[in-house]
Amino acid sequence: MDDVSLDFGGQVNLVLGTNGSGKSTLINIIAGVTYPQKGILTLGTSELRSSDRRGWRRGIEAARAGMGFMLDKHGYPTYLDGIELLEWASSKWDADWTGRIAQKLDMNAFLHRPIGGYSSGMAQKLGLGTSVVSRPKVVLWDEPTANLDAPTRRSVSGLIEELAKEGTTFVIASHTPADFEGVADWMCVMRLGRVVVSGMIKDLSAGSARLIIESDHPSLLAAEALRSGLAIRAEIRNGCAELETRAGVTDIGAVRKIAGAVGATVSSMEMKPRSISELYAEAIA
């Protein structure tokens, strides 16, 4: 990582980036697994400086009590049962809460078997479970949805929403932003160890808008929107013209004007905020 400066301002913070962009290193530094060569980390009210290695370590260890972790490289015990690892990670055993996590992540079928026999997906579910079993204030996840099937990915989103409502803050490193659409409220994109873009998702997506226009001549409408400068990008999808416009250019009047110019009729228009996946794709392009 080089010259990375971030302020996790959301409840569910997403760190996106391609392979080798530095996401895992960032998570490992916050978790206290590795030390940075240079930098400052602020956890709550504590400011930790890399020049004071002892202070850095103590600060992170003090904060660790309220944290839950799931790192990219697992080191799960192969001879313990899944339920034993959940007990291990639980600071105070809560059978109801553990049962809810097990049900939500669909773990009940294998929790009483040795972890060594788990598939990667099962191990991933167990890792997610152990990271939240003690109801931490802050959860650090590195690639939480890797190896998971579609229903479990949805369950993970549900789990994030439930815990976020209770006040848990998430820092999630991932390269699959689609898994966190509608859940994350802050994001940053890293590339080759540097931050390309960061901020609240609503602010980032407000920089432009996407108009989906139903028309009898979508191709003509799209071409005219590009020519006139109304749209930055335009494409035809599902028979509709999808226009990406600059911020503020979302009024129906402007669209009707270019439609009239090409003799097209607009039957409906919808404005969609840009998705995390779109923001990510744009940032790494």
Binding site: V33, M67, F69, T130
Partner: protein, 261 residues
Amino acid sequence: MGDFLKVFRWTYKNDFVEPFPELVLLLGVVSVSSSYSLGFDATNEFAKLTWNLTLLTLIFAAIGGVMSYSLALERGQVTEQLLSLRVSRARFVALKWASVFVILAVFALLFDFVAFFLYLGYFPNLGAYTIWGEAPGFAFLIMVGEQLVFLAFLNSLVMAVSFGLRRTTISLLAFLAFTLFSAGYFPLGSAAIPDFLRLGYGDYLFVNGLSYYAYLLFASSPQALVSAPTTTDYLVLAYRAVGAVVLFIISVGLFVRADLD
């Protein structure tokens, strides 16, 4: 106590796994049933047994130690334990050290009992001991006590080597090279290397001397005064006890500075 039990459970169930039990069983049976001793001109059966148990203890500590420290580090299991337990690095090292120590001690004591019963017929045959035949409990208790200090030294040594080198095979070889050399391959009576540094022999010297002294004290013998432990006896103990503490502190220092990714 709760954290200790958690680490102990993980260590016992997940670190001391195959091939540890199989090797321990094999080497234990071979060692205890063999009359071979490590080149030391044994004065009696007790000395031979001490040698054999020393060798066995070194192998216990070597295999169990590298599996719990080095191998667990390589597999990321140490990081997992540290993070999911949410304790400081120094506290984790202490908990792990204590867990490995308890397991090694239980194994070693188990073999002590088996060896004394099967190999020497110790308890049924008090006449096997010319010196301690009247007070076998002293010899045994002092031997066990000394063995625990010896185990603490070995545990700290294997931990320091594992955290320092961070490669299982290299750590195992380094530990065995040092301990086996110390146990049998440097000459006795050398001015350059004191005898008490020789693992096993130094332990034997200490147990032998202190047992005799304890027996004489117990029997209120006037010879007790002249048989009191010498500086060398205390050096034997200091080397192991202080060594255990120093190596433990080194291990903590290495671990708290280490990148664990």
